[in-house]
Amino acid sequence: MKTYINGIGCVSAQQTFEGEFAATFATNENLNVLPIVAPPYKDYFSPIAARRMSKAVKNGIVASTIALDEAKLQMPGAIITGTGMGCIEDSDKFLKAIIDNKEEFLTPTSFIQSTHNTVAAQIALGLQCKAYNFTYVNAAVSFESALLDGKLQIEEGEANSVLIGGIEEMTDYTASLFKLAGFIKKDEEGTFPMLGSKTSGTVFGEGAAFFVLENQKSDSTYAEVKDVEINNEIAAEILQLKVFDFLAANNLTVADIDLLVTGINGDAHFSNYYEELTQKQFAGTPQVYYKHLSGEYNTASAFGLYVGANIIRSQQIPGILKSNDQSRPAYKNILLYNQYRGLDHSFTLISQA
């Protein structure tokens, strides 16, 4: 059974929840933590309900609603989310209260909502969806784990339609820790370009991207998801070989790939992995990057899939996404490659449906 992407909803640091793809994309190199462009939450839930919801829940509900609407799907056969850090807004809140108040005077609300599967559970609750409900929390492959599971559901006939998504939220406390640990580029650098960066660390962001996967093509089909592979570690020297094996398993070679979408994030310390592909066998392949628009986060690769799926459907590459000047008359097969700090490598192959 083939797996098609039939609906996408995306909330990110760009205006991605409505309108034409990439029409308003803009790079902001002055920030090392990118805030989201907030969708009109009041169109989705009452202000009273919204007050109790964390960013992750709000953005997850908005993005999943958009994806379901586009696919004209009312009840998915499974709900699968990925989130590397989980609901950190609520877990930070609860943890801070424990420490500041010395374990006294606590209320359960933020604890209840701090669980990693809160977003998947809230979507199920809203839809009254009693189907399979999973949440993956494995850093940079959290979203790919959800994608892989969703594809497995469809391939094995366990479900005809699956709602998958990647959600991440950022908080001031976590941003301060990430700066301390050097994961976020130093404030003193002033500007934070991603291409050709010589410094370590990256620019962080947050967001939610949801996809409806179905076993049938429809009017709203973007692309077919051909394959997904995750690896916790790959030595840079054998990265190309791993990619060739992945392509070969799908009866493809480098020449068949019309576009390479990379998770380049400006971290000079780990850019060698991307360069293994971008500067060697794929040097003549059109290439795009996206984290200058979305920022880095554990499920930023879901934004990458949103980008890839839109390019394959529109057959156009917006200039702001290009990381080299190659082009092709048609974009049939797209390979996405992502890793974070040398770990959790993912290959995702999508094709024109």
């Binding site: 209840i112 809160t118 199920a124 929390v137 820790l177």
Partner: protein
């Protein structure tokens, strides 16, 4: 559907190995005690299922260098996974297409909560910032067993490890992996102690599953991992099969973020799916290892769901082992998977400790004394926040 289990490893409050755990279970030896390793203001009003080893002792056991940044959750997981791999007689972990599916709810929260503000004053602590998330726990376990390949983590609260077993079995069944190490790990943390305390579902004594006067749960900590292998690997390597995963199901209660529905709808659906996949009837089950957390809400909801599946008069021998270990959250379904396999191997139903008074709502009496009998199929339930309901069925042959 059936996938072979060829190795098991476990560390819990009742023992540091599979043998020690089994010995405690058949001796009726629970390990619910005062808390020793975590300074908390609630120390006098709660009891926990705590592994009586300090982090330094665990690190020494794993041979970690002084500059390691393993959280307690990662260390427990690494110890259990290592045992499982050894038990399965695996010498080269990457010989076949092998995966690791871990499960955790707190991840490295135990280090985060300890150093929360100190990170900014002590550069020696900064290494722990990267040890907070669930993925780091899985990566540490993968490093310990030398695995390079498919590694992921599931976090669906207290059903997490059941879902890890489920995904592992599905991946083997679909031919995506030849071999997979599945399980879960969670260390005790102030975060969960206070969380469950505010929900008012912690007992101040010893938890009493399925008792009418039950007052709530004891938290526990543990890790357990199982090795699942494809028929191909079992055949090629002439592997000894401990038992099989023969069915499973996950469903959502879609009722409330933390409470279970009155009639146990999610639990009912999960069990129903598991039976369908296993191609078994309720009457084939010889023992139910209940989720049985001893909270008023869980035991009522689970009991009702079990009655809906089996019929009130036909419920097989059942018990909850939470009175031994405490509720070990994301590790619970993994340690109970180990207990389920041991139940079949040794033909024994474990006692449901601390039970005195039957619940008023229905006629369900757990097995309170150890019982020896032939056990072919065990059904194990695990339910979590977010309405997450999971069932796994294990079979001897």
């Amino acid at each position: 559907m059936r996938v072979a289990i060829t190795g098991m490893g476990i560390i819990s409050a009742i023992g540091n190995s599979v043998e020690e755990n089994f010995d405690a279970l058949v001796s009726g030896r629970k390990a619910i005690t005062d808390i020793a390793n975590i300074p908390t203001v609630h120390a006098n009003v709660i009891k926990v299922g705590e592994i009586k080893k300090t982090n330094d002792e665990l690190a020494t056991e794993l041979g970690l260098s002084a500059d390691n940044n393993y959280s307690r959750t990662a260390m427990l997981g690494a110890i259990a996974a290592k045992q499982a791999v050894e038990n399965a007689g695996i010498s080269d972990i990457n010989q076949y297409k092998t995966g690791l599916i871990s499960a955790t709810s707190v991840g490295g929260m135990d280090t985060t909560e300890k150093h929360y503000y100190d990170y900014f004053n002590d550069e020696n602590l900064v290494k722990y910032i990267a040890a907070h998330d669930g993925g780091d726990v899985a990566q540490k376990i993968a490093e310990t067993i030398g695995l390079k390949g498919f590694v992921t983590t599931i976090s669906t609260a207290c059903s997490s490890a059941a879902n890890a077993i489920m995904l592992g079995a599905r991946l083997i069944n679909a031919g995506k992996l030849d071999r997979v190490v599945v399980g879960g790990t969670d260390a005790l943390a102030k975060f969960t102690i206070n969380g469950f305390k505010t929900l008012m579902i912690l007992t101040d004594g010893y938890n009493t599953p399925f008792d009418d006067n039950r007052k709530g749960l004891n938290l526990g900590e543990a890790a357990a991992f199982l090795v699942l292998e494809s028929d191909k690997v079992v055949k090629e390597q002439n592997k000894k099969v401990l038992a099989y995963v023969s069915g499973f199901g996950n469903a959502n209660d879609a009722f409330h973020q933390t409470a279970s529905s009155e009639n146990g709808e999610g639990a009912f659906l999960a069990m129903e799916k598991a039976f369908k996949l296993a191609n078994l009837k309720p009457s084939d089950i010889d023992y139910i290892n209940m989720h049985g957390t001893a909270t008023p809400n869980n035991d009522l909801s689970e009991g009702r769901a079990v009655i809906r599946i089996f019929g009130e008069e036909n419920v097989p021998d059942f018990s909850s082992t939470k009175a031994f270990t405490g509720h070990t959250l994301a590790a619970a379904a993994a340690i109970e998977a180990v207990y389920s396999v041991l139940a079949m191997q040794n033909g024994v139903v474990y006692p449901n400790l601390n039970f005195e008074t039957p619940m008023q709502e229905f006629h369900l009496i757990p097995q309170t004394e150890i019982k020896h009998k032939k056990i072919e199929h065990v059904l194990s339930n695990s339910f979590g926040f977010g309405g997450n309901c999971s069932t796994v069925i294990f079979s001897k042959n």
